[in-house]
Symmetry: C2
């Protein structure tokens, strides 16, 4: 089985109000050392080894379902068990 | 600067309707090899090196702000640049 970790984040040019709100809350907790917080989505996907083209499968799933490619970018890591 | 990646996911015993909905959509795309999808949250946090105790800082932020520790668990990775 392939264990795929997918990370979807806003492109750098896109404002991240959620991340900014978290940063303010963190600084109110007393952690002024925290310089920035960006929030994104994280997916753990199990894919059977019988898949023909793993990269094409993962990238199509990201492009069509998991990421809004206008505003978001994605990356992924594959672990084999 | 420390670059911290934080991953927040539902505990295994907790149902993940979002992940199940994505899995159904993926299988309708024709990828029957996808066995499961779990969705979580992903944070990129920049923390200045002057922080006294990095682990304590990250774990307090997770415990108090980023994760609902009743239903979610978290892990993190630290990169130094």
């Amino acid at each position: 089985m392939y264990q795929v970790e997918i990370f979807v984040t806003y492109k750098p040019s896109i404002l991240d109000p959620q991340g900014e709100a978290i940063q303010r809350a963190v600084q109110q907790m007393g952690y002024s050392e925290v310089q920035s917080v960006r929030q994104g989505k994280y997916f753990q996907v199990e894919i059977d080894r019988s898949v023909e083209n793993l990269e094409a499968c993962v990238e199509e799933i990201c492009d069509r379902l998991l990421a809004n490619v206008t505003m978001e970018s994605y990356s992924y890591r594959v672990k084999e068990d």
